[in-house]
Assembly symmetry: C2
Homo-oligomer: 346 residues x 2
Amino acid sequence: MASGDRFGRSTIVEVARAAGVSRQTVSNAVSKPDRLRPETLRRVLAEVDRLKYRPSSAAQKLRHQRAGAVGIELDAVRDTPSDVAHPFLVALALAGLQHGYHLVPFASRDTFPMLSSYQEMVRRQLVDAFVLSDTHRHDPRPGWLTAAGVPFASYGRVYDDPTTTLWADVDGAAGVAMAVEHLHARGYAKVAFLGWPKGSAVGDDRRLGWERATDVATGPARGPSATSYQDLPQVIATAASLLDLLQPGDAVACASDVLALGLHHAAVARGWRPGRDLGITGFDGSASARLYGITTLVQPLDDIAELLLALVGRQMAGLTPPTQGSLLSPTLSIGPSTTIHQEGSP
Amino acid sequence: MASGDRFGRSTIVEVARAAGVSRQTVSNAVSKPDRLRPETLRRVLAEVDRLKYRPSSAAQKLRHQRAGAVGIELDAVRDTPSDVAHPFLVALALAGLQHGYHLVPFASRDTFPMLSSYQEMVRRQLVDAFVLSDTHRHDPRPGWLTAAGVPFASYGRVYDDPTTTLWADVDGAAGVAMAVEHLHARGYAKVAFLGWPKGSAVGDDRRLGWERATDVATGPARGPSATSYQDLPQVIATAASLLDLLQPGDAVACASDVLALGLHHAAVARGWRPGRDLGITGFDGSASARLYGITTLVQPLDDIAELLLALVGRQMAGLTPPTQGSLLSPTLSIGPSTTIHQEGSP
């Protein structure tokens, strides 16, 4: 029986002896496993587990001192989290494994002031940096974090300060333009647009893609447009009015999957089959869009997470920020909602 | 200008002087804010922010040594996260604020062995305890954590070891029975059941509620039952076959909101109006159910999160576990899908 430390746990010497390796090898197995051959790693970790060895806190602390915890706010206020909130968290956690960061999510039921929970996390030293999401115009967070000297990276452009390059974002305009081109290539006549009320930075960006892609001589004719907030009953009502202006064979590019879902609903309610009678595209690559077979633009969440943690690491290491933010193109995931010639159609 | 420490930050003495309070009061403002009067707290925290004071790591470390980080696994394998995964995380983060815990989510793309990411978190000393979710039969995690002496609390019963009381769970049987009674009271004739294939612990528990509530002399007649996995096209096909066995005026209690959503879809497709022609209840209180107006059983996530962190705290403090796990009743959220007499109906 190993004698162990004062907590009854084993020491590094005991693990090294049991595994027949040096102390340095045990240390590497725990902190730099890629330096060991797989069979050695397996043998050492088996002894680490069997002997309940834990590296000393002091050593761990040193290692994690300035490169460890990344805070990420969870939205506790909105009833319905965004379609990408959870997948983004998973992407960040997975990217964190590569970068040696771990996430510390936090939430607050306060809607105002929105900075207080960030201040609290800094004060309690629970995080070394933040990843922001859901950035918008008049967002106080980037300015405050910059002034406080706290490293951060933003999923979403920093709209109020074009000189800030600490962000990665999906290219909404390019994405919707891609969707419009796809609808045109599939043979739909007019392409309408269902978006959010003007004034939201993300929504305006996505609308721009529709305006651009329907403003070309060789592209599809531009249909009417309508706007609704992300509330399904309202979306369905708005979509029904929009459908009154369209004919079977037309299509609608939507600024989000929730809008596309409501349109899908309104189309089915009047007996129009999505795809055959009406082309529908969404945006976000949500589980709901996949469930309903809606063609959607999938956000490159793994790449975005990777870029954001690299931005955090750059600041931790005292390097200068990059010369520009990263705008990534989404990818089109094609479903039955944009298949005009279906089995059994004439 | 405050002189600050070697990082250019202020010391506790400078903050105390600026705020006109004792050093102990500054310390309390940061670590035990509820001990201060609100106006004192506000004044001290204003100076803490202005002077960029950070409590020393050593003091922080001592305070957080055995009561800090709670690991929670994010499901990175399944394409569609469960409807409650994100809301549960938010509930845990909010409850953590009260208990002085912070969350450390982690994820792995490996499906096997599922323990390795837990072992990794323990080895790197990133967490002091775990909250488990998605427990199931033959789940290796509770046994391994117990053997390793790592505190944990489980959202979901520990099925393989009835002596383990370190869990809180929603009472699925009571919930579905409540839904059946509601459907009966609303005037639906037969109550059918749409569930998951037998063998899943959670699914079997929910089915039991339907069996019990339709097995009473004064209750509704028991309709047929059908099963499907959580895959919408499959659910819609299964639901369509189930509807062949029913008549307008009947109802279906579903084991989940995804099942209810598929049934809703199948009903609309044959021209049956949800609510008026067919009663539908779901389970989980998901955003989708709310979007589609489906009556559903809302899981008491705040209470469950609170209980789980209390269980973790109890183990941290070396107290004995409670004598039994906590089974909490869900609450019924009523939507149009169980409103049989609607505006405009005869």
